[in-house]
């Protein structure tokens, strides 16, 4: 195994019960060294529990957790090579910024001058140079976040664990911190494990993402694969917006399937575009993202291969984007229920927003479709 693909964290069949509640249902996971890894899922899916078992705050019912090749079973949280940034930041309110950052060095044999220099170095790294003397309550949310980062990073952990670290920040600050965290992770090169319920945040920041539902990993993939080829309908629904149309499989081979899609007609889909449906789903569905199809305006040029007639049902104007809800011609053909789909169009110069009720053409390509069966 090559060195840069060495697993830093391994979870082997990890099970966790709280009484009767089955919080983790057999997690198998290998997080690579130097990777920015995210655990993404709705609240209650077990992502925070998994992070806390890696940190050592929660024991596991069965299975194994290994960090850097070592079993962590008998290693308590204060002896693990991991450090955590808490959702609430957990800045010690009775200590100054410098005392907070230096907290983990209490048992370090180095001299005072050396420690002071180290604290200043780490504060500089997170952009808080000169803030050492401030009291915790004098800091803004973003600054608290940085102190929490500095306090964890000063111990040079092999893994930094981040529990929804950006959820308390406002949107602008959050976007800024996302970029800074990515840069910081590349700069110091250690493994970051992020827990988030925000799919956009996970897509922006991660090398790989594990999507979790009800204590299980539903899909583990890079952001692009996750977005373009969700493994099942639930993942597709959770990450971004996806339209679904009922479909009927006409023929299936090893290479792919020929499918009739309500409103879109017959298409050939290769194996790579076929995903699992959930057991509770009714029937076969075809999904596509709103931005993969083009609404035809007068004189519009497009590179799609197919066209379908549609009527505009609803227009939602967002400034940079416009969302159109379209009623596709013939969408009721398979099950008798007409379907609307949502299309997003970038508002570029010279393209007018179309009105509700307009008859229009929708241009698309089979390459953007995913079959869930």
């Amino acid at each position: 195994m090559s060195d840069d693909h060495r697993p830093m964290i391994e979870c082997q069949a990890v099970q966790k019960y709280y009484g009767d509640y089955h919080a983790l249902r057999g997690i198998d996971l290998a997080i690579r060294e130097g990777e920015f890894f995210s655990l993404l899922g709705p609240s209650g899916c077990g992502k925070t529990t998994l992070l806390r078992t890696i940190a050592g705050f929660e024991g596991i019912s069965s299975g194994a957790v290994l960090i850097d090749g070592k079993h962590m079973e008998d290693v308590p949280a204060n002896k693990r090579p991991t450090n955590m940034v808490f959702q609430s930041y957990a800045i010690f309110p009775h200590l100054t910024v410098a005392q907070n950052v230096a907290f983990g060095l209490r048992r370090d044999p180095r001299g005072k001058a050396e420690k002071t220099a180290l604290v200043e170095d780490v504060l500089k790294m997170v952009g808080l140079s000169g803030y050492g003397g401030r009291a915790a309550h004098e800091l803004s949310g973003g600054q608290r976040q940085r102190v929490a980062l500095a306090r964890a990073l000063i111990l040079k952990p092999k893994v930094l664990l981040l529990d929804e670290p950006l959820s308390a920040l406002d949107r602008k600050m959050r976007e800024q911190m996302q970029v800074e965290l990515i840069k910081l992770q590349r700069q110091i090169g250690i493994t970051f494990v992020l827990v988030t319920h925000d799919q956009e945040e996970a897509l922006v920041m991660s090398d790989r993402i594990a999507v979790m539902f009800e204590g299980e990993i539903a899909q583990l993939d890079g952001p692009e694969a996750l977005y373009a080829r969700p493994a099942n309908r639930r993942v597709a629904d959770f990450i971004g917006v996806m339209n679904f149309l009922p479909a009927r499989i006409l023929a299936e081979t090893d290479e792919g399937a020929r499918v009739e899609v309500a409103g879109l007609g017959e298409v050939e889909l290769p194996r790579a575009q076929i995903s699992r449906a959930n057991p509770e789903d009714e029937g076969v569905m075809v999904g596509f993202r709103p931005e993969t199809m083009t609404l035809m305006g007068p004189g519009q040029i497009h590179y799609q291969t197919r066209e379908t007639g549609a009527t505009i049902d609803e227009v939602v104007y967002y400034g940079d984007m416009t969302y159109y809800d379209l009623r596709l011609d013939g969408s009721a053909r398979l099950d008798g229920r007409p379907r609307t789909v949502r299309i997003s169009m970038r508002n570029v110069f010279g393209r007018d927003v179309q009105d509700v009720g307009t008859r229009t053409q929708l241009a698309w390509s089979p390459g953007s479709l995913v079959l869930f069966r």
Binding site: N78, N83, M84, S88, A90, F103, H137, R151
Partner: protein
Amino acid sequence: MSQRSFEGSGLRIYAILYLLFLYAPIALLPVFAFNSGTIIAFPLQGFTTDWFAQMSTNSTLRRALGNSLTIAVSASILATCLGIFAARATTRFEFPFKGGIMGLIMVPMVLPEIIVAMSLLVVLLGAGLQLSILTVIAGHTLICMPYAIAILSTAFSSLDKSLEEAAYDLGETRWGAFRLVTLPLVMPGIISSLLISFTISLDEFIIAFFLAGNEPTLPTYIFSQLRFPKQIPMIMALGTVLVVLSIVLLAIGEYFRRRGIARISGKDSGGFQ
């Protein structure tokens, strides 16, 4: 005049009478403590500090004061230490019958003190224990506990649970995390619990009366002296000292409680507003 403001003025008179009824008797204490007449009645005779001097030379009173201070200091420390355990357990952990157990600890707050005192007396005598200030300390610890827990639970519950975890995560031991992070942050609550328990114990009468045996405490001494009209001005002087002391202690306690809330920037949700 509109009906609304007429109602307002009625309520204002009510509020003033209410406060007068509450505080006028206490305000009279220092007035008669400095009055040179031996009879507690107007008109005042003249100014004197004799009663305070008499108080300081009375040996039984000094003994009662010594007893009361020993009892109050011991009971407040015991109640606060036990309160810390209970408050931490109830705010940090889930365990079976938690509500019931906490309810039982809080019951002495609403139970008639005479019943607590009587049943303690019966149990102590039945167990063959000698009545002394030790038995009063036990009784006072029991009745101070609910107040200590009420104050300390607020202090502990307004503390973010992640703080101790963060200290542990940064390499401290569990005890180190508690000592370095939790204890300094709940210290204002601890001080305020000590002071309020001290005040409660210092002026408690019924339990002291039942359980002290032959030892006097301040309240039981005061009660015994009320039978002798000659002693009443001195009791007034003693009362004045106690009122001033209580106000000072409560003010210090409240100061620390508020400082604690300000320090961890929480919301004020109790105490003396």
